[in-house]
């Protein structure tokens, strides 16, 4: 600790250079935070996907509906414990920018399938008692200042009502939370019976996709094969996969998000490596004579190496802490897209990764100048004072 002021005073030698280098580190870590949040928003669902849940969709495309009758047949397949379903409603609340998902579900099966969603018992009862009832996630409720008892009109270009109207009105009977903050709490769920009775006759008795809970996650692959075999050669053949793979499939439609994020960050940190490394090399070169003085006084080669490395680490750790802190604060304000990235949160593990990168960056950028400082011959260094 007694060397800290010495290290700090070296950083303060050229304030402008230190400030600019620090700024570049801050910007890099700000970007790191944002990209981590974007990646989380796009592929984070994979991490929270249930290991015991399978998703069954039409083999050709998810936009093709599956018969409601499949539910009973699936329940008869050995290893299947529970079956629930959802259908894409594709509604718009007031403005297309106000995006959030709304899906019709069968409340009891759906809530059993998703124990990560927390809904008070009295609100669940109200949902079961109200045909036009809907529950909405906390995030969307807060975003639009909805409360229980509100009537919410939602327009959908997909599902016309018998009177030709595209506006469906739902009664908010519950607001749910999630047990894990990585779980999306933006969707609205309403009752499938109301939906099925009201939608056009040609599409009645069909659902978008099924979720299956298997009794034994170790046998999930076997059950998935059995489900697909059950509906083989039917007009609606199925594709059954683990929920994680299903979510990943959605994210993959945008490309390999993780690879894209890593590539951008790789380029940013490589540039930062050059910028910080150059600043450190210059800083050490400038004070060759002073390093000679310290060695003459009795500082060992190891102490000189340690102090120079500590200097570069202090710089990158300070910049990293500020950058990560700023990105944390900004990301905590929520989804900047108005609903397109509902899981826009700073993943805690990435915070630790950021910390490790900051230290590693300090070591890598400082090691060469520190090594050179350590190897300096005292008599030679003093001549350069």
């Amino acid at each position: 600790m007694k060397f800290v002021y010495l290290i700090w005073s070296n950083l303060m030698r050229k304030k402008l250079r230190t400030a600019l280098t620090l700024l570049s580190v801050i910007v890099a870590f700000l970007l790191f935070g944002f990209l981590a949040a974007i990646r989380q928003a796009l592929v984070g669902g994979v991490e929270v996907a249930g290991a015991d849940r399978l998703v069954v969709r039409d083999k050709v495309s998810i936009i093709n509906l599956l018969p409601y009758t499949y539910k009973e047949r699936m329940l008869r397949i050995p290893g299947v414990e529970l079956v629930a379903h959802q259908t894409w409603f594709g509604g718009i609340y007031q403005d297309p920018k106000n995006f959030f998902m709304q899906n019709p579900v069968e409340p009891e099966d759906f809530m059993k399938m998703h124990p990560e969603l927390k809904l008070p018992a009295e609100e669940m009862k109200a949902w079961l008692d109200t045909r036009t009832g809907a529950i909405v996630g906390r995030k969307t409720a807060e975003r639009f200042h909805w409360k229980i008892g509100d009537k919410i009109p939602i327009n959908t270009p997909i599902w016309r009502k018998p009177d030709g109207s595209q506006t469906w009105t739902f009664d908010i009977v519950g607001i749910y939370d999630a047990s894990d903050k990585r779980t999306d709490t933006t969707p609205l769920f309403f009752r499938y019976d109301y939906f099925d009775e009201t939608r056009p006759a040609r599409s009645k008795g069909q659902v978008g996709w099924y979720s299956i809970r298997v009794k034994d996650p170790a046998r999930a692959v076997e059950v998935a094969k059995a489900v697909d075999a059950e509906f083989e050669n039917s007009p609606n053949e199925t594709k059954t996969e683990p929920e994680g793979a299903f979510v990943q499939g959605f994210a993959s439609a945008l490309g390999n998000i993780t690879l894209i994020v890593r590539s951008i960050l790789g380029a940013v940190f490589f540039t930062l490596l050059l910028v910080t490394g150059n600043a450190m090399a210059q800083a050490v070169r400038e004070r060759t004579g002073e390093l000679g003085v310290l060695k003459a006084i009795g500082f060992t080669n190891g102490q000189i190496l340690g102090m120079t490395l500590a200097e570069s680490c202090l710089l990158t750790m300070l910049g990293g802490a500020v950058g990560l802190g700023l990105s944390w604060m900004i990301i905590s304000q929520g989804d900047p897209t108005g609903g397109l990235l509902p899981l826009f949160v700073f993943p805690v593990p990435d915070l630790a990764v950021g910390g490790v990168i900051a230290v590693a960056l300090g070591v890598v950028t400082g090691i060469v100048p520190a090594w050179q400082a350590m190897r300096l011959r005292v008599a030679d260094a003093l001549r350069r004072m």
């Binding site: 010495l6 005073s9 003459a296 006084i297 009795g298």
Partner: protein, 230 residues
């Protein structure tokens, strides 16, 4: 001179530097003894080997041949790690250009050698104040080097050199960058330290400065000469 009185013994020392393919012999079979408590001035023209000899005595460099013994310890056989620890304990350096760290205040500069000891912060501060008191700069402790005159900077340099109470003080042209008045103040200070028992070896070009020392030896082409070379 008895064996026990000798603090510095340089015996049969050669120092050869290699410049490209050429060997340059700077010190040749040099032998010198400096008793404890002596104030020795080393004079000679540029390139005569004065600073090289000072570097060898201070453990900043190693002789090509021969031995350098300080207080009975042969420092020529020490590793760089051992030499660093030895310098911290036994040697105080005063440089021509003061060599203070410009980013630190006077007191922080003086404190530097104490960072290598196990003293507490309060103890270090006490030593720093005492050293700055000796050089008459107690009132300038919080000033940065750029706020001090050349003479004051050199006095801070001396305070830094004596703060650990080293066995020997090595001064490389300590008045070389100062005007006569400031130079005289530094020489008076060095004499005062010597009168308190401190062994001082000073390299100088200046005959006036050498008069402050109790003994003067001359170096010429890497060897000790009885008289000042032409």
């Amino acid at each position: 001179m008895s064996q026990n009185d000798v603090l510095v013994r340089v015996q049969g020392v050669d120092k050869v530097f290699r410049r490209g393919s050429e060997d340059i012999s700077v010190l040749r079979d040099l032998t010198l003894e400096v008793p404890s408590g002596q104030f020795l001035a080393l004079m000679g023209p540029s390139g005569s080997g004065k600073s090289t000899l000072l570097n060898l005595i201070g453990g900043l460099d190693q002789p090509t041949h021969g031995t350098v013994t300080i207080a009975g310890e042969n420092i020529a056989s020490k590793s760089s790690q051992q030499l660093a620890a030895w310098r911290a304990r036994h040697v105080g350096f005063v440089f021509q250009l003061y060599n203070l760290l410009p980013t630190l205040t006077a007191e922080r500069n003086v404190e530097l050698p104490l960072l290598l000891t196990s003293l507490s912060r309060a103890e270090r501060q006490k030593h720093v104040e005492a050293a700055l008191g000796v050089v008459g700069l107690k009132h300038r402790t919080r000033h940065y080097t750029r706020q001090l005159s050349g003479g004051e900077q050199q006095r801070v340099g001396i305070a830094r050199a004596i703060v650990t109470d080293p066995t020997i003080l090595l001064c490389d042209e300590p008045t070389g960058d100062l005007d006569r008045k400031a130079g005289d103040e530094i020489l008076t200070l060095l004499r005062a330290l010597n009168s308190q028992g401190k062994t001082i070896i000073m390299v100088t070009h200046d005959p006036h400065a050498s008069h402050a020392a109790g003994r003067t030896i001359y170096l010429n082409k890497g060897q000790i000469s009885d008289t000042m070379p032409e």
